[in-house]
Point group: C2
Chain length 136, copies 2
Amino acid sequence: MRSSEVAAAAGVNLQTLRYYERRGLIDEPDRTLGGHRLYPAEAVTTLRVIKAAQRLGFTLAEISELLDTARHRHARGGGAGLQTRAREKLADVEAKLADLTVIAETLRAGIAAGCQDLETCTGNPDCPLPFSEIAQ
Amino acid sequence: MRSSEVAAAAGVNLQTLRYYERRGLIDEPDRTLGGHRLYPAEAVTTLRVIKAAQRLGFTLAEISELLDTARHRHARGGGAGLQTRAREKLADVEAKLADLTVIAETLRAGIAAGCQDLETCTGNPDCPLPFSEIAQ
DNA sequence: GGTAAACCTGTACCGACGTACCGGATGCAA
DNA sequence: TTGCATCCGGTACGTCGGTACAGGTTTACC
């Protein structure tokens, strides 16, 4: 498959394909005599896996590592496997959930109290937004 | 107060202070004859309000706008007030919460299923991670 | 063999939020 | 008046995940 076919099939930009190649996320494909890239069909699957992993919150660096340890399985000791990574990521996500829950509650309180502007709220000790408590 | 005092009192970097000034988040302070900035004590409060608003998920651009509409209150029509902004932000935060909840559930499913690496999971139709369904 | 579409490399840029470094000027105390 | 900490403006860098452009080749089809 040619690069634009792969990009279209995976729903990514052509530039993104080359970017991933530079980042080591996808293998360097074979080339035509003239230097044009020729991808195997599996490249599309790899790209979809990358996108799925991104949706789960993994960074490209993490995905790159996960793909590496998947390829050569002798990752004893050094590289953490998918299990470990998923556990760590879950902890991150749960922490973010906790943060956002507090934030949502605070915003709801501010809305319920009818806060009109930052200046008034900052000086008002009854305001539920954390401006007044912070002011002094 | 001198710039380093304000920065220390608000817990921000000196450079950040100048950055906020460039962004229009804090007023341009008076200067000494030699050009050194001299801040009023309220600058510290403003900085803390900015940090509190950031913790609530507002961008610096949004905070800048909120501070502006707070300062000159004649913001009828054009600029949305704190109420409106808070409602919009709450909707954002709730959307993020929903996303992260799905992500957390997916990660938990993957952990419970004992997924070991991306390659195996991609080819396994029983894997709860959304790689296999996506592969074809 | 001509032509247009696709492709190549390399580099620069986006946005969001700062941080760091430079050479030079200033402030303050002894 | 000297000396040193602090501050000045301007610019460059860093992250993260791409995207865009320039200007030059290659491929594919008629």
